[in-house]
């Protein structure tokens, strides 16, 4: 849905995150939500109420629509979560489980 203006020099400023089991390249210092918006499937969760798909909406932490499961941390706002190399991210389908599945 979005594209990078400048393709960075390959290497030092890039990290790889794991999104639903797929490796995804990301810029160091960007948010998980920003990475997601360059994906073909630019949605982050299916709601616990009706399983409707949602995507990042406000990008500044006030809509809470970009909640994603971050391994070892919980269901967090993807727009306030910065990428780390090797980070595991899951789209949350429906209500989350008390024992995280990723």
């Amino acid at each position: 849905m979005f594209r990078l203006l400048e393709q960075g020099r390959s290497g030092e400023d890039a990290v790889t995150i794991d999104l639903d089991g797929q490796p995804v390249r990301a810029r160091a210092g960007e948010t998980v939500a920003s990475v997601l918006m360059r994906e073909a499937e630019a949605w982050c969760r299916a709601t616990p109420v009706s399983q409707a798909r949602r995507a990042p909406y406000c990008m500044m932490g006030v809509c809470f629509d970009c909640l994603m499961l971050v391994e070892g941390e919980g269901l967090l706002r993807a727009c306030q979560t910065y990428v780390r190399d090797g980070m595991k991210i899951r789209r949350q389908i429906g209500a989350r489980h008390v024992v995280p599945s990723c």
């Binding site: 919980g74 008390v98 995280p100």
Partner: protein, 369 residues
């Protein structure tokens, strides 16, 4: 305006009584306050509970148990009439014990309750038995067991309030909202309720407005001894179902959120919430269920319970002004079925008031003597 009965207080207690009265009397008027009023009914934890109630007071033990039993049919009755599901689940309820000391203390309570009533339906479960009740989640290492009552239940207290008010309206009752009672005048067997929006005359008046009840009841010759106790509750994000049973401090609601409560604080009128309270509540919850650690807390609130000297409810009938009644209690959800059925009928003049005398404030005079 002239009605048969005015119920002052649109919380769960007042709404349950008003709903019951509307089944006995023609014109019942329910007066509710405004949105900014303290509303304990909107801060409730939602237990329909008797397993810890009435130690040293068998009448309260029986009352609670009777109401919990009545709930089995009561929830269907108000759901049918209001069209509002109240999310009643009555599979039983738990009180988790951390460490041996808590287990023994809980066991002692159960023994005392058992000495007051044959077949209480409450038993102590070992850690292993508690584990079998929780296939979806591991227990913390400190959990030694739990008390389990097969009758205890939980309900959505907010839906309950809505259901009661709608069922009341369905029975022909009238609700006036954002009202504030200025005074209750007496004379010629009638009560005149003075409101900012006009006066209402009624043959009966029921005062059931929680902490505001005392000042209205006093001039009608009814003394209501109670203090205020703050209770803070926190709630989490929605989770997939993992808790099949409510407990006295943790329960998962129908929509998946987990409620964790409640503090008991003597802080007078302070309506606030504190992080210290949230810390205490969450720390204990994590000791019971360590996997809750990474769950998000979404909201925290507080309410003020009205607490009588022996915790049991106050059902008062004015001797000086026949037709005036007061009902004050902190367990409005548990007792809703009883209030809507038995108490309302007694207020309407059906059956003897005699059994209610045990819950008059006069019980404290006897104890003092």
């Amino acid at each position: 305006m002239v009605v048969d009965c005015v119920v002052i207080g649109g919380g769960i207690v007042g709404s349950a009584i008003a709903y019951g009265l509307a089944g006995c009397l023609d014109d019942v008027l329910l007066l509710d306050g405004s949105d900014g009023d303290p509303r304990a009914a909107q801060a409730n934890f939602g237990l329909v509970w008797y397993q810890s109630k009435g130690v040293g007071m068998p009448a309260y033990q029986r009352l609670s148990r009777e109401s919990v039993q009545e709930w089995r049919s009561f929830h269907k009755e108000i759901e049918d009439m209001s069209g509002v599901p109240v999310e009643f689940v009555g599979r039983g309820g738990l009180a988790y014990c951390l460490g041996d000391e808590e287990f023994e203390a809980r066991q002692a309570i159960l023994s005392r309750l058992a000495s007051q009533m044959a077949d209480t339906g409450i038993e102590m479960l070992s850690r292993g038995a508690v584990e079998r009740l929780h296939p979806g989640i591991r227990l913390g290492p400190e959990v030694t067991g739990a008390a389990f009552s097969t009758l205890d239940a939980h309900v959505n207290p907010l839906r309950l309030l809505l259901a009661l008010q709608r069922a009341f309206a369905h029975r022909g009752g009238t609700i006036r909202r954002s009202e504030s009672v200025q005074a209750i005048e007496t004379g010629r067997g009638q009560f005149r309720i003075r409101l900012k929006t006009g006066d209402v005359d009624a043959a009966r008046v029921v005062i059931a407005c929680g902490e505001a009840s005392r000042v209205l009841a006093e001039p009608l010759g009814m003394t209501l001894p109670f203090t205020l106790q703050r209770g803070q509750i926190i709630v989490t994000e929605r989770m997939a179902p993992f808790l099949a049973y409510p407990s006295d401090r943790i329960r998962q609601t129908a929509c998946g959120t987990v409620m964790i409560g409640a503090t008991k604080e003597d802080v007078g009128f302070d309506p606030g919430t504190t992080a210290a309270a949230a810390a205490g509540l969450t720390a204990r919850a994590i000791r019971v269920f360590p996997d809750l650690a990474q769950v998000s807390l979404v909201r925290q609130w507080s309410g003020r319970r009205v607490i009588t000297p022996d915790i049991a409810p106050l059902y008062e009938r004015s001797a000086a002004f026949p037709g005036a009644y007061a009902c004050v209690c902190h367990s409005g959800v548990t007792l809703a079925a009883y209030h809507a059925r038995t108490l309302a009928q007694r207020i309407a003049g059906r059956g003897s008031w005699h059994e209610m005398e045990k819950f008059s404030a006069r019980r404290f005079d006897v104890q003092a003597a």
